[in-house]
Every structure is written in structure tokens, then in C-alpha cells.
Symmetry: none
Subunit: 196 residues, 4 copies
DNA sequence: CATGAATGAGGCTTCATTCAT
DNA sequence: TATGAATGAAGCCTCATTCAT
């Protein structure tokens, strides 16, 4: 009987290596050879677990998105109205999340001129916005936000800020230490009329 | 007597074509051949006017940045404290500026893993922020803003918003018509205590 | 006690599947993976039952040759001088034999540049010619053919015709229905002075 | 001004090298690298002059077909009813034509499973048959053949013989010296009632 | 100044084969 | 006996760059 391998686990493993590489050199400069070397396999490993290099990248993108979501969910599970917490789970406040944003930024570049990745990006933005909106509604239910707020608009503003912060911190982390990011975040949230 | 050619004009011309191509297919998928064809020159055009493909791209980046700056300057010259106007000169409110942001987004992808382009990006962000700060100070001088405002912080917030809006509008222009962008912009600016 | 497997039967089974595949896609495009899938085994099937992919193909070639011979023998057993019958047993008159010729044609292509397969092909031609010659001598013995005929030459002519027909019918079966093949066959045989 | 090159001549040159290689190792084992080496160019030469390796092979096939036709035409121009001559122009009677048939045989193998090459093969067969038929009609016009002959059928028989001879001579040239091929040819033509 | 020809490096992918289980 | 995992070699192709003209 042959050695059996958890196919999905191996895919995630490869995708994880890919993400690390992307953060370092950019999606478009990730080569199968480099990836294989970094993962400790031969170049054929990619074709073994993915139909295509493209499929690997798509999977990597989605895996990264899921990881980010999971982080947010972990915050919201005990406190479904923890707006600040769920946003901070997304911001590049530490090394790990900084690296994650490097990956997003790189994928954005790829999405220009690649309709499928652009669509994926749109999907993710929409999804994140809906989650933020849900948090806002939970806040309203708890009296932390006026019930007649324009939840969609506020969610858009918040996501706008998140993306904007991430872009800047992504390219200039030294100029955007966690404290400064949090300060801007508070500044944005303050005028929303949030009550504690 | 050799035919004289305006070297710099030719460089700008090529960069303009490059920018158009980048917006369509992404920086990393722009090939010298495609560029030459689009520009109506031979493939040797790059080596002729630029040391390198890389230099061409860098020049393209800088040229695009200058064009954006010029647009802002045109607004500020008659009205140095026109905050909304100068910001709107940057947002992807119409087809042309949308295309310009596609170029930025694409360059961001390239900047991941390319220190020189990342530095260029940092430079540009800093520069833009300084310009916004200058507008804010002009506003303060005209009594439109409290004199003790944290100009740096506000400029950061505004640029954060600009980048955030551009990312989202860049990938989903249908979801971000000019009016919606302006609405978010006003929403951001309102709590700043701007007086007219 | 290990499960006993009829090694040879398994080899023939695999070769049969290989022949089917060859007729569809050509020898050179038959992959072990595809073959394994079609046969319902794992990719290691080849190494198990054959030293090599090459040996598998050689075996397939020989098995196909034997099948054709068996068909001829079945005709000649009851009637050793049935020239027309034995030739028709070789011609691509129906779907099955058409498929068989696809296999031969494909192997011919492989034989170019492959001395071993070329030798195999020569062997088969020689063998078939000898069998035809034997039929001719049987005919002579039965008074159906002048005893002083040049049996070798006639056999060569007949095999020439068989191969020629098969090539054309192989690539254009619609243009070579059984009837037309038989017509040409009769036309060739007629001047030989065959008596019934 | 750049060095100009006769594009078509270069294509024919490359195709000629390809044909030589095909006769040696078989179409499917011709690699771009080997071809480039044999032609004295870099591997990029193929993509330079052909869209594809496949296109190169198709071109090679067609170029070889044209060369064969030209040889036949050269015979028929001064003597449009020279049946034997035009057929001999096709048979593998010398080294050059033997090599040419190696190429055909190899392409046949490729045509199995490749509809486009199979169609090309059908086209060529049909074309050659029509040319033979034309010769037959010229013969009839000159009283060398009964006017009511079944020209189509005779042409089919002759082409059948040509192909059959070529296959056998192709794989066993030692067994098929020119004289033997001619002998079979005469044997075939004799019963047709040709008058000189 | 400008070009088309030609290159060499390197990318992705496919495939027969080997190996531990 | 039989398997799925994994490999390394090799294939085709693309591309930025160089060079003679």
C-alpha cells in the first residue's frame, strides 16, 4: 500500500510557501523553480497538486483571504460588535499581517489586466464590506450606533480607510507603526457617534 | 547633418504609450515588442531611448506622477486652499484618472519585491502628503481650519482615504461612480471642522 | 498465499488497451498515465508487467501482428488456397480492421528513426509475404495458378497492394468502402491467371 | 538599415533541415533544440520564422509535397502522357526519394490522432490521384489507352501500388532495389493494355 | 538614428520512472 | 502484487537584449 498524503493539507502547505515568496519578490516574479526550492520539493510538485501555476496562485489568494477572515471571525465570535477589534485584525499592525498585505498588494498588481483575479479581488472587497456592515448592525442593536445610520456607507468608509492604511503601511512600515495606524483608526471612528 | 530628434519628447511619448499598455495588461505583462508595436517603433526603441526596460518603466512611473501633480497644481494655483478640488484632481472620478490609477495599482504590485520601485512609491506618497499638508496650512491661514490642527495627521488621513477609494474604485468602477466617491470624501472632510 | 495473477493474460489485456489508445491518438502520444487510466490500473502498471514503456509498445505491436495472423490462419485452415479470403482478412474492410491499420500506420511513424521497430516491421512484412506465397503455392498445387509462376514476385505485388490499400483507406475510410477495396483487389488478381 | 533576409527562403531552409532530421529520427522525436543545432541557429529561430513547432512541421510537410509535385511536373512538361516516368518520379528509386518517403511515413504516424495532418494527407493523396488521372487521359488522347477506361479506378490502383511499394521499400530498401520496384511497376501496368 | 535578425536565459509543463508503503 | 507520491530530465516557448547594417 502506498504512502497516503493529505492532499488538501499539502496544497495549503505549498500555498503558504507561495505566499511567503510572493511577499518577498512579488507574484509575478515567483517562479515554480524558486517555489519548489523554498518548499523543499521538485518543480513537479506544483503540477502534482495544482493544475497550473495560475491555479496555485488563485488558491494562494483564496487561502490568504480565508486566513484573514478567520482572524476576524475569532474576534467577532465572542464579541460580534467589536468593530475596532475586527478592523485591527485586518490592519498590518504586526509582522505577520504586514506580510499578508504585501501579498494583497502584489495580487492587486496582477489583477490589473487579469479579469479573473480582478473579479476575485472584487469578491473579497464585497465580502469584507458585508462583514463590517454586519458588525455595524450588531453595534446598532446594542445601542452603540444610531439605528438609522447608513450602514452601507459607513462600511464603505471603513474599508476605504483599511485599504488606504494598508497601502501606505505596506510600502512604508517604518512610517506607519501600529500606534499611528490605531490613531488614524480612532480618528475615523470617533465622528461616527459610537457609544461605549 | 543628422535629423535632430527631440530626445525628451520621444521619451515622454514612449512612456505615454507604456502607461496605456500598463493600464490594459499590467506592468509585468508589458513586453518590449508589444510596446514597440503600439508605439509604432521597432523593438530597439527601448535601448535607444532608455538604458533598460526597467529604466523605461521607472521613467513611466515618474512621468505619470508628474502628470498627476500638474493636475493638482493647476487647481491650487488659483486657489491654494482648495482642498476638495485638489483631492478630486487625484481621485478616479473619470475615465482618464481611472486609467491612471490602474497604472499605480500595477506599479504597486511591481514594487513588492522591488526595493527601488518601492522607494519611488514611498517618495510619491510622502510628496503628495506634503502637498496636502500645505493646502491644509493655507486653509488654516484663511481661517478655514483651526490653527492648532494636527496637519500631518489630517494629511495622512486624507491620503489614506484617497488611496483607499482609488483601490476600490480601481477594481470596481461600476460600484464607485464619481458621486459615491465624492460622498465619502465629504463625509471624511466634514468632521474636520472645515469652515467655508 | 498471494493472489495469483495470470501474468500473460494481464499483459495481453494491457496491450489491447494500448492498441485502442494508439488508434485514437497515435503511438507517440500514448502516455503511461492515460494508458493506466484507460486500463483501470495505476501508473505503475507498466513497470509491473513490462520492463519499459518501450517493451509494452513492442509487445503491443507483436500482439496485434499475431491477432492479424490468427485471422488469416482461421481462413486458411479450412481452405489453404483461399487467396482472396486470406487477403480480405487483412484489408481494412470493417471497423475493427480499420482500427488495426491505424495502429500499424502509427507504428510505421515510430519505426522511422527507431531501428528496432523498423526491424520488427520488416519481419512482419516478410512473414506475411511468405504466408501469401504459401497460399499461392497451394493454389498452384490445386491447378489454380500456373506452376511456373514467379511466386515471390506475385506475393510481393499482392502485399504491395494490401499495404497501398490500407494506407489510403486508413486515412480516408469514407473514400474507400469495402466494395471499392474489393474491386481493386479483384482487378489486381484478375490478370494473374487465376482459375477457379 | 538592418540586414534584410528573404523570409520565405529562410523558412524553406529551416524546413529542409527539418525534413532531413525527420527522416533520421522521426517527426515526433524532432526537437527544436536538435533542429536548431542542425540548422546552425539558436532554438529561437523556429519561433522566429514559424508561429509554432506545429506550423513548422505543417510547412515542412507541404514543402516536401511541393517538391515531389515539381519533380513529377518536370517529367510531364515535355511528355504529358509519360505514365511510367511520372510514377518513377515518385517512387523511392534513389537515396533522395527514399529519404523523402521516410518523411511521409513519419508524417503518417503523426497523422494518426491528429486530424489536421490527416486531412493534409488526404488532400495530398487526392491531388496525386488527380494528376495521375490526367496523365491517363492524356494517354487515352494519344491512343495509348482505351478511351473508355475507368480512369478513376486505374489511377486508384496505381496510387495504391505507389504507396504500397514505398512502404515496403521505405522500411527495407535493401530488399527493394530500384530494379525490383520497376519490375513490379511494369507488372502492374502491363495488363492495363498500354500501347506504345 | 533606426532597424530587423538573432540569441541565450529562463519559464511552465509533461512525462516515464522510481520508491516507500 | 499494487499503489500514489515524488522526481529529474527534457520539451516548447517567450522575452529582453545585442548586433550588423
Amino acid at each position: 500500500m502506498p504512502r497516503l498524503v493529505d492532499h488538501d493539507a499539502r496544497r495549503r502547505e505549498v500555498a503558504e510557501v507561495a505566499a511567503r515568496l510572493i511577499a518577498q519578490v512579488g507574484v509575478e516574479r515567483v517562479t515554480v523553480r524558486e517555489l519548489a526550492k523554498a518548499a523543499g520539493y521538485s518543480t513537479a510538485i506544483v503540477s502534482h497538486y495544482f493544475a497550473d501555476k495560475r491555479q496555485l496562485l488563485l488558491f494562494t489568494y483564496q487561502a490568504a483571504a480565508q486566513a484573514a477572515q478567520a482572524r476576524v471571525d475569532a474576534v467577532l465570535k465572542p464579541a460580534p460588535d467589536d468593530l475596532i477589534g475586527s478592523i485591527e485584525a485586518l490592519l498590518p499592525l504586526d509582522e505577520e499581517r504586514h506580510r499578508e498585505w504585501q501579498v494583497w498588494l502584489s495580487f492587486w498588481g496582477m489583477a490589473i489586466g487579469d479579469p479573473e483575479f480582478a473579479a476575485e479581488q472584487r469578491r473579497r472587497v464585497l465580502d469584507t464590506r458585508k462583514r463590517i456592515e454586519k458588525v455595524l448592525r450588531a453595534m446598532a442593536a446594542n445601542g452603540k450606533l444610531p439605528a438609522d445610520s447608513d450602514f452601507d456607507l459607513i462600511a464603505r468608509e471603513l474599508l476605504t480607510m483599511i485599504n488606504g492604511l494598508a497601502v501606505q503601511a505596506g510600502f512604508d512600515p517604518a512610517d506607519w507603526p501600529a500606534e499611528r495606524q490605531r490613531k488614524v483608526l480612532r480618528q475615523f471612528v470617533a465622528p461616527m457617534g459610537v457609544k461605549d
